[in-house]
């Protein structure tokens, strides 16, 4: 093991830069530096200690999180906001397994992320040693690829490859398991440039025939609809995608991960579709005759039952991952390639725009028919939607929103007007409660200094990872957490009311602590709001506070999320209230 590093001084720094890589751990750190990593999120531990020791002399920023799950979510959110892979670290065994939720979350949402885990020394692997877990085995199904790094001479290149692979093509999490003997071993092998492996080939430029066929289908459509998926954001194709929609006058619906890809206040934007998406987006999907889906995997929360999804539409499906083509919804016109490239090619191939005047006016009519709305009589408890709108009005257009998972997540998605990509950070595919607070930390570090970061959380969701508030306090991170507290695990309660005869088993959360006081205990600012007339002041005070602030909004416990497409139902048959379910 390296000697205990002396206190940092200029002399020591100079010495370090001259000597280069001496151990496997130093190769790991050198690889991260050369791949362009800037910030790591992690928790110390026995088997990862050599890597941390190497970090002692590195310029990489390390943020110690309260729990490894927080590290994974923070790295994930850092990646979403910055567009570069986030990096998280954990030790072997429990450290690695605590990362699993965050890795699975990144995998489901195709977020670029690199996880580095310590491992027991190679000669002890398989012996059920202290803090040993088969990490590559556990994470194989939830990573794009993972590596067991058994050689100090190649570990740097492996880490570089993991970094490059996570961002290449369709992004996803990669993991490198680092046995302690590898990181301790002497090596002078400087890692080369981060490169993706030869066997991983991505077709970025779509096939001519595919583009031509798709363009013809769009031209002849009378009711075309663009559906932007998360891939539009991840491939930085928003400019091209928006341009295409506006040039050809085609209405746009998005998926939840693509929130912000199209400005939601634009007349062509129908906001997001799916289970709790807008009525007008779901009506448009139901009636379109040509669905141009870009970078989406047609998740069941979007499609409902596929047999009733876009029943009349020819489907053009643009995706960089060929395996997504016709996986859930049959693509009549597949276009395999990078979203921005494919859209530009489609645009160039189109001889004319489809005639959409009538269709656009139909979409406008649906907007009028099914506005997102809620009732706010004075004598009722505070409505959560009002809180979301209050924050939206009080913040800048480029403020970043992170959320946990549950009813609050849906209200945050519905009642905030998103205008820019990478301002919506949420857990979609995996639906991880507790995502919000650690994500706010990762987002805060990745965001520009003048960008505000607001986390909407639920009482149940907040309770799962609120220990990370301590990290925000320590790091003096200016984030605002708005807990929409209904004393229920609200989405479950909503389903129990609708589908389980109101038998609210284990949904009651009236045992929750007082979050404002907890926030104060952590050293953050804590506020509590019970009524409408307290909202504006609390929002202002929380946003103005320079550091983490938690506002515990005690909202109407009976409020539910609508519209709602029942699970497996038809998008056009969304319920507007409980009696329609």
């Amino acid at each position: 093991m390296s000697e205990h590093a002396p206190p940092k001084s200029d002399a020591a720094d100079d010495a370090e830069t001259d000597t280069g890589v001496e151990t496997g751990a130093e190769a790991v750190v050198a690889a991260l530096e050369s791949a362009g990593a800037e910030t790591l999120f992690g928790v110390q531990g026995g088997a990862i200690m050599p890597v941390y020791d190497a970090l002692y002399d590195s310029d990489l920023q390390h943020v110690t999180m309260a729990h490894e799950q927080g590290a994974a979510h923070a790295a994930d959110a850092y990646g979403v906001v910055s567009g570069e892979p986030g990096v998280c670290l954990a030790t072997s065994g429990p450290g690695a397994t605590n990362l699993v939720t965050g890795i699975a979350d990144a995998d489901m949402d195709s977020d670029a992320m690199v996880a580095l885990t310590g491992q027991v020394p190679s000669h002890m692997v398989g012996s059920d040693a202290f803090q040993e877990t088969d990490t590559t085995g556990v994470t194989a199904p939830i990573t794009k690829h993972n590596y067991f790094a058994g050689d100090a001479d190649t570990v740097g290149d492996t880490v570089g490859e993991a970094f490059a692979l996570s961002a290449e093509g369709r992004p996803g999490p990669t993991l490198v398991d680092l046995p302690k003997d590898t990181t301790l071993a002497e090596t002078d092998a400087e890692p080369g440039p981060a490169e993706t492996p030869e066997t991983y080939s991505v077709e970025e430029d779509p096939d001519d025939e595919q583009v031509e066929a798709a363009a013809r289908a769009i031209e002849r459509a009378e009711k075309p609809l663009l559906l932007f998926g998360g891939g539009v954001v991840k491939s930085d194709a928003c400019k091209e995608a928006r341009g295409f929609a506006m040039e050809h006058g085609i209405p746009v619906a998005t998926t939840m991960p693509a929130i912000g890809s199209m400005p939601e206040d634009h007349e062509l934007c129908l906001s997001w579709a799916g289970m709790h998406g807008t009525g007008y987006a779901n009506m448009a999907i139901t009636h379109t005759d040509c669905l141009i889906a870009v970078g989406t995997r047609f998740d069941d929360r979007l499609t409902g039952g596929v047999e009733t999804f876009a029943p009349e539409a020819e489907v053009v499906h643009v995706d960089i991952d060929p395996a997504e083509i016709s996986k859930n919804v049959h693509a009549d016109y597949p276009v395999v390639g990078d979203a921005a490239t494919a859209i530009e090619r489609l645009d160039a191939e189109m001889d004319r725009s489809p005639q959409t005047r009538e269709w656009r006016s139909q979409c406008r009519a649906w907007k009028d028919e099914y506005p997102l709305a809620y009732a706010t009589p004075d004598d009722e408890p505070l409505k959560p939607q009002f809180v979301v709108e209050a924050f939206d009005e009080a913040t800048d257009d480029d403020a970043v929103v992170t959320t946990g998972v549950g009813q609050h997540q849906m209200w945050a998605a519905q009642f905030w007007t998103y205008r820019s990509p990478r301002t919506w950070v949420s857990s979609h595919g995996l639906g991880t409660m507790g995502y919000g607070v650690p994500a706010a930390i990762g987002a805060r570090i990745a965001a520009d200094d003048d960008q505000q970061v607001v986390c909407f959380d639920g009482d149940g969701s907040f309770l799962m990872t609120m220990q990370e508030i301590s990290v925000a306090v320590r790091e003096d991170l200016d984030i605002t957490v708005a807990v929409l507290n209904n004393r229920y695990i609200g989405m479950v309660r909503q389903w129990q009311d609708a589908f389980f005869d109101g038998r609210q088993m284990a949904a009651d959360y009236d045992w929750c602590p007082e979050f404002d006081k907890l926030a104060e205990a952590f050293g953050a600012k804590g506020l509590r709001v019970d009524d409408y007339d307290e909202v504006a002041d609390a929002v202002e005070e929380a946003l103005e506070y320079d550091g983490p602030a938690v506002v515990d909004f005690h909202i109407d416990p009976a409020e539910n999320v609508y519209p709602m497409v029942p699970s497996g139902g038809a998008n056009g048959k969304f319920a507007l209230s409980e009696d329609q379910l």
Partner: protein, 238 residues
């Protein structure tokens, strides 16, 4: 937005918004299109029940021969609920490469997914589906009761098999061939009382000059020719 309306109306609920609900026509009052898609997401005639049929496909995957590759492939199959009939694996003529031969029973879209999901795995180099005329073979080793050695020998010869072990109580034979032949042979041996059986599952190569996976080149090592000298066995005529 609606908060302003509400304050004007005092404690009266919003007239157009039902309690815990929203405006707009209810589900049954909305126009619904006629088209429909089947469970695989394929658009079909609403009158027809077009469910794709299952078929058997032999898929060959050329992979990097590295630790864990088989568990990744088998894990992929179990996680995605593909119906796998058999899986065989072994090294190829190229150092560091192995071939995995999979027999799957799926619908056409399912088989397509199998191939695409396999191709996504980092250690997978190429994936190809074999034609019906591919050369396929399976090995079975089976142990039968040894009371009638002559008859057992006759059946073994009939199926061009080989006796691996013969004792007073048991006889063990091996048979190779396509799946039908193996099935028939097992049926034929049943009369003696089969004690134990071990089947390998099918392995296969494309017939003639066609490479088994697209673009596959025989006998060339990935990096240098030196490495491949020992294993270089031939080339296709281009």
């Amino acid at each position: 937005m609606s908060s302003d309306d509400a304050s004007d109306e005092g404690s009266e609920p919003h007239p157009e918004i039902p309690r815990n609900g929203m405006p707009g026509p209810s589900p049954d009052e909305r126009p619904h299109p006629e088209g429909r898609r089947n469970a695989k997401g394929i658009r079909i005639d609403p009158e027809a029940e077009a469910e794709p049929e299952h078929r058997t496909a032999v898929v060959s995957a050329l992979v990097e021969h590295e630790p864990g590759v088989l568990s990744r492939v088998s894990g992929l199959f179990s996680r995605r609920q593909f119906n796998i009939e058999s899986l065989t694996v072994g090294p190829t003529t190229v150092e560091g490469h192995a071939r995995i031969t999979l027999v799957v029973e799926e619908t056409d879209p399912g088989i397509d997914q199998v191939k695409k999901q396999l191709a996504k795995l980092k250690p997978v180099i190429q994936v190809g589906e074999l034609d019906d005329d591919a050369v396929r073979a399976e090995l079975v080793v089976l142990k039968v009761r040894g009371e009638e050695p002559d008859k057992v020998q006759a059946i073994t010869e009939m199926y061009e098999g080989r006796t691996l072990d013969a004792g007073p109580r048991t006889i063990t034979v091996q048979i190779t061939g396509d799946q039908q032949k193996i099935d028939d042979a097992i049926d034929a041996f049943r009369q003696f009382g089969i004690i134990e059986i071990a089947r390998t599952g099918q392995t296969a190569l494309a017939r003639g000059d066609t490479p088994t996976t697209p673009g596959e080149e025989p006998g060339h090592a990935k990096d240098t020719d030196e490495q491949s000298d020992e294993v270089k066995t031939g080339t296709y005529d281009d």
